[in-house]
Symmetry: C2
Subunit: 188 residues, 2 copies
């Protein structure tokens, strides 16, 4: 387990210093470390999907690994994360915003919305992890709450609405982002 | 829906010609087409994960897409396919063999076995799709059947054992590889 510079039992001064470290740690890294924790504890098996890449040209040098010499990033057709928890299929997208007031839907691809709609129809657990970096707060919110607003042609969801309808994720030394405890609130 | 050159209602002569086409069609393509069918019919949402690639160097030409100029294939830490079906988390690996008599376990990475064990412990549906190209037959077999043999230090599972313990996948024009009908046999 890689150590993560967050500890609840510290003074305010230390907390500020640690928050600064926290800002430097990307959301993706915090989720991946948490997923490793969940996997090792046999709580859940959740992975980030690799970024899809279109390979155009590959060299095969003798006695060396194949070297890709021309390739391009492709737009993913699904969300970034999926896996299994409490016997359920889980699917989510994680996003960070610098805004103090709202999360804008332009940050979500339409194919990701369609994918999450499909998952909901098939009785999976679909949600977003949204980090408000200004407040150092990260929330879990069910995908349906955002999808309903998008269907009403709304362009964003306010920070206040996320606070009310979502669940603040607890952070700790061992478990950088305990988002599954937040998910427990809406798993039937 | 992309047309697939298999049709049950043809003469023997046609069947042979079509089988030849079938041989040319890779297992992965048949699974991906079937997944598209399942997705469009709202039966299941199952995707192949992108191949993980370690990007070393990227060019950013003006007004053009970022061009990856040096990258290497990484060994995947999970299986190739996962998704949701009948409210369950599904996870599987697909393999093809030219052997007439058995499927050798050297074709499976140890991390894939560990991953499937974890999925079974977490109450997911874990299986293999194994294509015997010589017979033009493709089977679904529960992962536990292979894992138990690997734990007993066996090096392979025989074709006969797969016939007895697995489920032959039906093929059709619209649905190249209807593996979920085979999976129905062991979903509780």
């Amino acid at each position: 387990m890689i150590k993560y510079p967050i500890n609840k039992n510290t003074s305010n001064k230390q907390n500020n210093a640690l928050s600064a470290s926290n800002r430097g740690m990307k959301l993706e890294k915090a989720i991946n470390l948490s997923n490793t924790y969940y996997l090792n504890k046999e709580i859940a098996n959740i992975h980030k999907k690799p970024t899809p890449i279109q390979v155009v040209s590959v060299d095969y040098p003798k006695r060396q690994a194949a070297k890709i010499t021309e390739a391009y990033y492709k737009i993913p057709s699904t969300t970034d994360y999926n896996g299994i928890y409490r016997g359920k299929y889980l699917d989510f997208e994680a996003k960070e915003t610098k805004s103090k007031t709202s999360f804008a839907f332009k940050n979500i691809h339409s194919h990701q919305i369609n994918h999450l709609k499909s998952i909901i129809n098939l009785k999976g657990i679909a949600f977003f992890i949204i980090c408000f970096s200004h407040y150092h707060e990260t929330y879990v919110i069910e995908a349906i709450n955002l999808i309903n607003r998008i269907n009403e042609n709304k362009k964003s969801i306010s920070y206040q609405e996320i606070k009310e309808e979502g669940y603040l994720i607890k952070e700790s030394y061992q478990l950088p982002l305990d988002y599954l405890s937040a998910v427990d609130n809406f798993i039937k």
